[in-house]
């Protein structure tokens, strides 16, 4: 009997606390698979955000710390000074990264910090129950935009890859999605490229993963992945914004 797929040993045995169909489970697994395949698990430290994935240290089998809301890139920057030879990543949601943490991520990119950020963009605040995020789409309803987001009151949603890729030291910037098997395979390649960028000390690597939040979108998981494809991808195009030759 040949093994085609076995769940990575880098995830703990316990069930995750995430909702049914939440793509955090896929994103966590992809990162842990890449660490296992590159054989760098025991050289990696992760930083979880405030958000649903503050739970990540319970599920990922690596040294981890939870950071204050938005501050993960600063924590990673400090950590990088003490651990010049290890792999460091931040794993952040859209409220954490684009709202309260906007300054920290911008300057990590500006400084070309040699860690990777995995940005889980599901266009809503998950943990706190469905408030509007800077990435919430026009017309999308949220508990703090009960009539839907509209430009005059709320402005336009932030496209972080486009912003981060303006920083010249953000050498690898790519947007992927977790809605279909093809996209999930592409997402894993992007995550691997991010760790390759770290390995070669080329600069800051940033991967935005369009994700679902079935609970706060009010959709069953299968409808949620369809909503992502129909609504998020047109506004947040899947694209490689920057990529060094060495990791292409």
């Amino acid at each position: 009997m040949k093994t085609v797929f076995e769940y990575t040993k880098n995830m703990e045995e316990v069930s995750t606390s995430y909702c049914p169909g939440c793509t955090h489970g896929i994103a966590h697994r992809l990162i842990m698979e890449v660490l296992e395949e590159k054989d760098i698990t025991d050289k990696t430290v992760g930083i979880a955000p405030v958000g649903c994935s503050i739970a990540a240290p319970r599920f990922m089998k690596i040294d981890m710390i939870e950071s204050f809301h938005g501050r993960a890139p600063a924590v990673a920057s400090g950590m990088r000074r003490v651990l010049p030879d290890k792999y460091i990543f931040t794993y952040q949601g859209d409220g954490d990264l684009t709202s309260i943490g906007g300054n920290e991520i911008l300057h990590a990119a500006e400084r070309g910090e040699k860690f990777s950020t995995f940005f889980i963009n599901n266009a809503i605040y998950g943990m706190t129950g469905g408030q509007m995020a800077p990435t919430t789409l026009i017309g999308q309803k949220a508990t703090t935009a009960p009539r839907g987001r509209y430009v005059e009151k709320h402005g336009m949603p932030l496209r972080m890859c486009e912003i981060i890729s303006q920083c010249q030291c953000a050498v690898y910037v790519e947007r992927v999605a977790l809605d279909t098997p093809v996209h999930v395979r592409q997402a894993k390649k992007a995550i691997r490229r991010a760790f390759d960028v770290q390995e070669k000390r080329l600069g800051f690597s940033f991967v935005e993963l369009l994700s679902t939040c079935p609970s706060n979108w009010g959709l069953p998981p299968v409808k949620a992945v369809e909503w992502l494809a129909d609504n998020m991808i047109p506004y947040y195009p899947l694209k490689q914004f920057a990529c060094p030759e060495e990791v292409k």
């Binding site: 698990t41 025991d42 050289k43 990696t44 430290v45 930083i47 405030v50 503050i54 240290p57 319970r58 089998k61 690596i62 040294d63 981890m64 710390i65 939870e66 950071s67 204050f68 501050r71 600063a74 924590v75 990673a76 920057s77 400090g78 950590m79 990088r80 000074r81 003490v82 651990l83 030879d85 290890k86 792999y87 300054n103 920290e104 911008l106 300057h107 400084r111």
Partner: protein, 361 residues
């Protein structure tokens, strides 16, 4: 080998920290302590360390948290409104049981305030603006030399107590130049092997450890949070026994006992000489630790004292602790200025005489 050298306070603080073992500094410019990031930018890399100018004080304190979590010896510094921004980070360092050396150079406030000396961050340091049950172990030196000695020791105390140690000075002490003796360099622990051996809890990548390390910035249940708080409380209980420091002079037969620290303590010293010449016996309690506070010093006040006068550059933030120490046995009064304004020794003398008159009538 020790050397005597004329140094500006802010720069001396850096040198003391480096010799005490600090190799990672994260900061942001703010008057009156911008010389601290500047000195660290010029010198820390040469000492085998790293300096980063962060995007803000929010960034700086969180960089410090990350570096401390990975086993680094970290220094942070700022002034009043910048320290206000760092409050969440200080609470985070405490709940994570992480060491750090914090230098707080207080200026006039509240808010953006003024850039001149103040002691109106005493409550900020000792009672905290972060959330939850935590303390910054806080020292309040009066001379640049005393600050140097406390910073040097503070780096090791932070490691020992797994907690931030704060050295709170006023703007004048940061800016003034005094002759000081610098201490000898302490050993540092920088390599992967040294960190794993010296700080086995640090996040360094699991390596050959049997288990992953996790630093519980957010414990998973109320019971877990209480347990982690109790762990830290054990260190605080130890600090209350072992880190109380103060200087007391002339308490046996003083009519007036002054309580002061920092620049006001020096001005009050001059005022005490002037009062003695007029036949008014004076004494002083000069706290050196603010948390834990030297309440025990007030038990030594003799039977001749009529009043305890706190002399502060705030509306009596330390007076709250003085009243706790005095336990209602004597009247407690305040001589103060705020907003960056200073008093002269003559003003302290005349205000003391007014207070004495009020107390004896």
């Amino acid at each position: 080998m020790s050397e005597k050298i004329l140094m500006k306070g802010n720069e001396a603080f850096c040198e003391a920290a480096i010799r005490g073992g600090v190799r990672f500094y994260f900061g942001y410019p703010i008057t009156p302590q911008s010389e601290i990031p500047e000195y660290m930018a010029a010198h820390l890399d040469d000492e085998g360390g790293c300096f980063v100018q962060a995007e803000s004080e929010l960034g700086a304190v969180n960089m410090g948290l990350g570096a401390a979590a990975s086993g680094g010896n970290v220094m942070l510094s700022s002034s009043s409104p910048g320290i206000a921004l760092m409050q969440e980070g200080f609470a985070g360092l405490c709940v994570c049981h992480l060491p750090a050396l914090v230098v707080s150079v207080a200026r006039g406030g509240p808010g953006i305030g003024d850039i001149r000396p103040s002691q109106a961050d005493y409550r900020q340091a000792t009672r905290g603006g972060g959330n939850g049950d935590y303390h910054l172990i806080t020292f309040i030196p009066t001379t640049v030399q005393e600050a140097v000695d406390l910073i040097y020791e503070g780096v090791t105390l932070a490691d020992e107590y797994r907690n931030p140690v704060c050295i709170l000075v006023d703007a004048m002490m940061g800016q003034m130049m005094e002759p000081i003796i610098l201490p000898a360099y302490k050993k540092t622990f920088m390599t992967d092997a040294e960190i794993r051996s010296h700080k086995p809890w640090a996040l360094t990548g699991q390596g050959k450890r049997a288990e992953k390390n996790r630093i519980h910035a957010m414990p998973w249940s109320p019971e877990e949070l209480m347990a982690t708080n109790l762990e830290q409380k054990a260190y605080y209980d130890k600090a209350e026994k072992e880190l109380v420091r103060y200087e007391a002079t002339g308490l046996d037969d003083a009519e007036v006992v002054f309580v002061a620290y920092g620049t006001p303590a020096r001005i009050t010293g001059e005022a005490m000489d002037m009062l003695e010449e007029e036949g008014i016996r004076t004494g002083m309690i000069r706290p050196i630790s603010a948390w834990p506070y030297p309440y025990e010093a007030f038990e030594k006040i003799g039977g001749k004292t009529k009043v305890v006068i706190t002399v502060e550059l705030s509306f009596g933030q330390m007076m709250e602790d003085v009243k706790l120490g005095v336990r209602g046995r004597l009247p407690v009064s305040l001589i103060c200025r705020t907003g960056g304004v200073l008093f002269t020794s003559e003003e302290i003398v005349s205000e003391t005489k007014e207070i004495l008159k009020g107390v004896t009538e």
